[in-house]
Point group: C2
Chain length 224, copies 2
C-alpha cells in the first residue's frame, strides 16, 4: 500500500508540473511533441531526417533524454538544430519538472515547436505527462510485431504510431499489417505512419502531420 | 530525499529475496541466467533457437516477463519447454519475490538451469538482482552501436554481452566492432557473443558458455 501511495504522489506532482507546462505552451502557441520508443528504434535518426526541412519553416528546439552521454544532442547540433541534453543517470523516463527547468535556456516562448525525445523505454515514459500536445510512440520492423499488445499502456496513451525501418522489412519476419492491426486493437484512434528514417521513404506524410499539429496549436486547438 | 530513501528500502527488500534465492539455488545446484535487453532485440527468438538443444541434455525451465500477454511463454511451450509467464502490468522489471513465488510450480529444486527473460527494458532490470549466476545483456545490430555508453548500468552489471541479428548487419549502418569496444569500455570483463538467433550463426559458442555456467554451478563455483 505504501508504494502505491508514493507513486500516486509522484505522479500527482508530475501532473501539476505538466499542467503548468501546458498552460505556458498554450499562451505562447508552442506545439510540443513527446516521442517514445525502445532504445534503437530510430528516434534520433528520424529527427535528423525531418528537422532540416522543418527548421527552414518553423522556430524549433529539441530536448534529448538519455541515461548518459550527449551523443544525441550533438548529432542534432551538427545539423544546426537547437538541442539540449538531459542525462537522467539511472532514471527510466523524463519528468515535467525537468522540462520546466529548460524553458528559459531554450527560449521556448519564441518557439513554434518543441520536440522531446524521451528515454529509450516502452514502459516508464507512458506514465509521465510532459505537457505535450501529441505523443508519438515508435517501433521498428526489426522488433516484434506483437509489441503493442505487450506494451499496451504507451500505445493507449499515444496519438501517433510510427513504424520505422521499413527498409529492413524484406530481411526480417516482421508482419507490418499484423503490427498495425495489433496497435489499432490497443488504441483504435492511433494515427499510423510507416516510414524509413534511413532512406526517407514515408517521412513527408509525418512532416505534414507535424505541420498540422503546429497549425492546430496556433489556432488554439487541443490534440493529444 | 524521501524518494531516495524509499528506493533504498525497495532495493533492500529485493536484495534480501535475491539472497534467499541464491542460497536455495546453491543448495540445489540450479544455474540461473537473467537475460535483459530492449524490447525486440530477440531474447525469445534466441531461446527458441538454443533451448531445443539444451533441453535434451539438461533439466531446464524458463520464466518469461512481460507487461502483458502470454505470447512468449506460449512460444516456448510450443517447443516442449517448461515455461511460465509473469505479467507485470505496468512494472518495468522483474523482482526477486516474483521469482520466489514460482519455485514450487516450476520444481526448480530438480532443475539444472533456470532462465529468466526479463522485461524488455535496458534501464530498470539493471537494478534488481534475481539471484542469478549470470546476467546476459543483449542488443541487436538494428539498434545503435552507442547503446552501451547510453545505458551503462546494465552493461556494467552484466557478465555476458550478446550482439544479435548479425544477419541484418549488411543492411544497417551499425558498426559491430565499435559497439563491442563501446561495451568493453563500460565493462572490460564482459564475455562477448555475436550471433544471429534467426539464422543460427554463432549460437554454438553461446550454448557452450551456458553449459560452462551449468557445470560451474554443479561444482559450487560462483559467477556473475
Amino acid at each position: 500500500m505504501t508504494r502505491i501511495d508514493i507513486n500516486e504522489k509522484i505522479l500527482s506532482k508530475n501532473d501539476m508540473a505538466a499542467d503548468r507546462l501546458r498552460k505556458r505552451f498554450k499562451e505562447t502557441g508552442t506545439a510540443v511533441i513527446n516521442i517514445a520508443s525502445a532504445p534503437g528504434s530510430g528516434k534520433t535518426t528520424l529527427l535528423e531526417k525531418i528537422l532540416p526541412q522543418l527548421k527552414t519553416r518553423y522556430r524549433l528546439a529539441v530536448i534529448e533524454g538519455d541515461l548518459r552521454t550527449e551523443n544525441d544532442a550533438n548529432r542534432l547540433r551538427a545539423l544546426g538544430v537547437n538541442a539540449v541534453q538531459i542525462q537522467t543517470g539511472d532514471a527510466c523516463h523524463l519528468e515535467a519538472v525537468q522540462i520546466e527547468k529548460l524553458l528559459d535556456d531554450l527560449q521556448t516562448d519564441n518557439l513554434d515547436l518543441l520536440i522531446i525525445e524521451n528515454i529509450g523505454n516502452l514502459v516508464c515514459p507512458a506514465s509521465y505527462d510532459l505537457g505535450e500536445d501529441a505523443m508519438f510512440v515508435m517501433l521498428s520492423v526489426a522488433e516484434g510485431d506483437d509489441k503493442p499488445a505487450k506494451y499496451p499502456t504507451i500505445f493507449h496513451n499515444a496519438g501517433y504510431f510510427i513504424l520505422n525501418k521499413t527498409d529492413l522489412a524484406p530481411y526480417t519476419d516482421f508482419d507490418i499489417q499484423k503490427c498495425l492491426n495489433n496497435a489499432l486493437s490497443v488504441n483504435s484512434k492511433l494515427k499510423l505512419f510507416t516510414l524509413s528514417a534511413r532512406t526517407g521513404e514515408g517521412i513527408n506524410k509525418l512532416i505534414e502531420a507535424i505541420e498540422g499539429i503546429i497549425k492546430n496549436k496556433k489556432e488554439g486547438g487541443v490534440l493529444k
